[in-house]
């Protein structure tokens, strides 16, 4: 039986803090979101990443989903814009962040460390650059493609040792995992979020986007759907 006094001041504090960072997963600034579809990557000014971090992100996204081969790359589809906007809009605000944190918990018990996505990028980019400098003698963005891939692989497999580089609280693989998920989300989400520019990713894979009405098509089996995608803003490709 509990007669716990409800900690209203704590709740009020949390709510006040939350008000500065929108909880709702749709960015609350619709006006800006409407403008994201027209962004040209070379003219875009990041709102979360610093200039140096942005340089890293462009180079990393360009390897995570490269331009060569079938289908568009991450830069052609403005994926870094998506990531920048999402981090600014409060990605991660829905996570339960109270301590104590057991950073070495079994992976089957889920995310347990105490970094927000924003912190993961700040720390991860800094240490990834240190690793690149240490291992290849240059900043990440100046490496040849194969070496960039080697650095990304080292982050992914956790052979880049963030503890040795100065921060034992974050694993390289955790940072890589966050970045890769955000990259794929930006590639395949509706273009209103800033990525999947002109629905190029949807065109490449054959996904009709927000058409969402297939009463006649459900009975047509094993035939390629003939129409291109539409976006939530009503554009067609």
């Amino acid at each position: 039986m509990s007669t716990t006094k409800i900690n209203l001041s704590r709740r009020t504090l949390l709510m006040a803090g939350a008000a500065a960072v929108p909880l709702v997963s749709i960015p609350v600034y619709r006006a800006r979101a409407a403008g994201l579809e027209g962004v040209e990557l070379q003219h875009y000014q990041p709102v979360f990443f610093s200039a140096a971090e942005w340089t890293f992100m462009l180079a990393a996204c360009d390897r995570l989903i490269p331009a060569d081969g079938k289908g568009p790359g991450a830069l052609e589809t403005n994926v870094p814009v998506f990531i920048d906007q999402q981090l600014r809009a409060g990605l991660g605000a829905d996570v339960y962040m109270d301590g104590p944190h057991k950073n070495d918990a079994a992976s089957t018990l889920g995310f347990q460390h105490n970094h927000t996505p924003q912190q993961m990028y700040r720390i991860g980019i800094k240490l990834a650059q240190q690793y690149s400098q240490q291992t290849h003698g240059k900043p990440f963005e100046q490496l040849a493609a194969a070496d960039k891939d080697a650095v990304l692989t080292a982050l992914e497999k956790n052979t880049a040792d963030f503890a040795a580089l100065g921060d034992p609280t974050l694993k390289a693989s955790q940072f890589f995992g966050q970045m890769l998920d955000d990259t794929k989300n930006g590639y395949l989400a509706d273009p209103m979020y800033g990525g999947n520019k002109d629905m190029k990713a949807w065109v490449a894979i054959g996904f009709p986007g927000a058409r969402a009405a297939y009463t006649e098509w459900v009975d047509v089996h094993d035939v390629k759907y003939p129409l291109g995608p539409v976006s939530l803003s009503g554009k067609r490709a």
Binding site: M1, S2, T4, K5, I6, L8, R10, R11, T12, L23, V24, S25, I26, R63, L64, I65, P66, D68, G69, K70, G71, A93, D94, V95, Y96, M97, D98, K102, A106, S107, T108, L109, G110, F111, Q112, E156, T183, N185, L188, D190, W202, A204, I205, G206, F207, G209, A210, R211, A212, A213, Y214, T215, W217, V218, H221, D222, V223, K224, Y225, L232
Partner: protein, 589 residues
């Protein structure tokens, strides 16, 4: 003491999802003054007009209409020797919030348990020799007969416009339906949804192999429907944005589409959104409740007095409220005393993904419940005892959504780079799944209680969940894997991948299973080992009723919503016919 006291009501309903909405309309139509308190936001249907829900990133990736772990986390541990850790992000399950609850965005498979499922203990005692089953298993019968509950399944089917093929009509097996289903008093209200390529391939093959497939029983309606309350649903247009999404077409049976439009017009019904109930307030003798206390939108503490309290805030939230409020005794797994928190169970799934480089599955053209399944492997219909386990599974090929984030790719496809990108181009829309959704037994050592270390934003302890897989469920998985792979091989895919549990698997809370958590405040015949009687009335506090999946003593393979609808309607009827005239315990022991 709360700062504000509301006007008196006859009934306060905590949580306005399926169970809360059913109670709301049934009791309001009986003339009672009813007020519902919903922790989350209001969710009027106009918020979900086309094209808004056609947005995978918002709804399925960022969980737009779900509760947040920040506000609603639990803690989890595998056994009572460990320290439980918070569910900082959702994984295996994800609770809803807001008006409509998870009923707003559920997949919409509306299927009844079988006659054996509701008397599983009786079946086990008869079919299993001593020593075969884990001595820690705590399975129980539901405290009603098929004939008593069937009219309430039937009523909920009609509320939802259930669409599918009748299998057993008054004891006569019908072609095209589930021959293993319990007898229905009436046929399905509406015909089945249309099959997609995956489900027709699966059904054809399964039938050839001797199984009895039928279309997934669906609460995404196949035709225009007017339900018993006068609410109307439109025929599903297979939009592909169903499971985790509010319906953009008024086709998915939800509290909004089937009940709330009607009950909101009644002057004796009112509701408050953004009202977080933090406790049920009991009278000094603890035998009755006087109402509930909630935190409103302005962060004020408000007391809502009421004659009857309905806890319908979802399975584990209901159990937590009972523990926080002192309703019943908390369960102790060592002494097996106390009933609140015992008999917690979950479920498992697994599947084979089949890749065909030349087929077009068009996965985006689908309803939530789309698929075909068979129940041949369910308790009582095959010799589980000879195999050394109790339980079974739906075996099905379903296709609840077709949006591209998370597309399955063949084994060996790189996780990023040119190989991943080209894998998406080559394989999106080229795969189907054959999956299992299993039963899950209850055990002495699987239970819910209050966490000693972690709190929610209101300063109250989180609910702690102690659960892991046991050998019974893992043996069941290995057996089912064999059956699924046999079917998959018949279809001759170009590539195949699989996920099934192994005999040494721990519960992986990072992988979504389903939000069919059950137990913790179970219904039963005796206050010794159940928290609620057959009318979902607390044995301890007679004006508190707790409808939800919490009432199940273990989990069957059918999705839980049909049963939750039926037992809630059954309880509402008992309140109307008996409790109002004579408030007190409805079952004497």
């Amino acid at each position: 003491m709360p700062n504000i006291t509301n006007d008196d009501v006859d009934v306060v309903i905590v949580g306005l999802g399926w169970a809360g909405s059913i109670m709301a309309i049934e009791l309001a139509q009986a003339g009672l003054k009813v007020r519902a308190l919903e922790r989350g936001p209001d969710r009027p249907p106009e918020d979900f007009a086309y094209p808004k829900p056609a947005d995978q990133y918002a709804y399925a990736i960022r969980n737009k209409v779900f509760a947040t772990p920040r506000d609603a986390a639990l803690t989890v541990r595998y056994n009572d020797a460990e320290t439980a850790l918070p569910t900082r992000k959702w994984g295996a399950f994800a609770p809803g919030t807001g008006v409509g609850g998870s009923g707003l965005h559920w997949t919409g498979v509306l299927i009844r348990p079988t006659t054996t499922d509701i008397k599983l203990k009786t079946y086990a005692d008869h079919a299993y020799k001593r020593g075969i089953l884990d001595p820690d298993m705590r399975i129980k019968d539901f405290p009603f007969t098929w004939d008593e509950i069937e009219p309430f399944f039937d009523k909920f089917d009609k509320i939802c416009g259930l669409s599918g093929n009748t299998g057993n009509l008054k004891g006569v097996i019908q072609p095209g339906g589930d021959p293993f289903e319990g007898p229905r008093s009436n046929p399905y209200p509406l015909p089945a949804l249309h099959d997609t390529l995956n489900s027709s391939l699966f059904a054809e093959t399964a039938r050839k192999m001797g199984y009895h497939p039928f279309p997934n029983p669906s609460a995404n309606v196949s035709q225009a429907w007017t339900n018993p309350y006068g609410a109307q649903l439109a025929p599903c247009n297979y939009c592909g944005y169903c499971s985790k999404y509010p319906c953009l077409n008024y086709s998915k049976a939800s509290p909004q589409t089937t009940i709330l439009d009607v009950v909101k017009r009644m002057p004796n019904f009112s509701y408050r959104a953004n009202a977080n109930v933090i406790r049920v307030d009991l009278h000094a003798d603890k035998k009755t409740a006087k109402g509930v206390t909630y935190i409103d939108e302005q962060q004020r503490e408000v007391f809502q007095p009421a004659r009857i309290v309905i806890l319908s805030s979802f399975q584990f939230a209901n159990v937590r409220l009972m523990l926080l409020s002192g309703i019943g005794q908390p369960y102790n797994p060592i002494t097996e005393t106390g009933t609140v928190g015992r008999n917690y169970a979950f479920l498992s799934n697994g599947d084979a993904t089949l890749f065909f480089k030349d087929k077009h599955f068009n996965p985006f053209a689908t309803a939530g419940a789309t698929g075909e399944m068979f129940n041949d492997i369910s308790p009582g219909n095959f010799d589980g005892a000879a195999l050394g386990f109790i339980g079974g599974a739906k075996i099905h090929s379903s296709q609840a959504t077709g949006a591209p984030i998370g597309t399955a790719l063949p084994k060996g496809t790189p996780g990023w780079g040119k190989g991943w990108k080209e894998g998406m181009v080559d394989w999106y829309g080229r795969s189907m799944k054959i999956g299992i959704t299993t039963t899950c037994m209850s055990y002495r050592g699987h239970f819910l209680d209050l966490d000693p270390n972690y709190k929610d934003p209101w300063g109250q302890p989180l609910l702690r969940m102690t659960f892991d897989w046991r050998q019974n469920e893992l043996k069941l998985q290995r057996y089912l894997r064999g059956l699924v792979l046999d079917i998959a091989k018949e279809l001759k895919p170009d590539a195949m991948s699989e996920t099934f549990l192994g005999l040494d698997s721990h519960w992986d809370i990072t992988k979504y299973v389903s939000t069919h958590n059950v137990g913790g405040a179970i219904m039963g015949d005796s206050p010794r080992d159940s928290a609620l009687n057959r009318y979902l009335q607390s044995w301890d506090v007679h004006n508190v009723f707790v409808p939800g999946g919490n009432a199940f003593p273990q989990n069957f393979q059918a999705n839980p919503t049909a049963m939750i609808g039926a037992i809630t309607l059954f309880a509402a009827e008992a309140i109307k016919q008996h409790y109002l005239k004579n408030p007190g315990p409805l079952v004497q022991v």
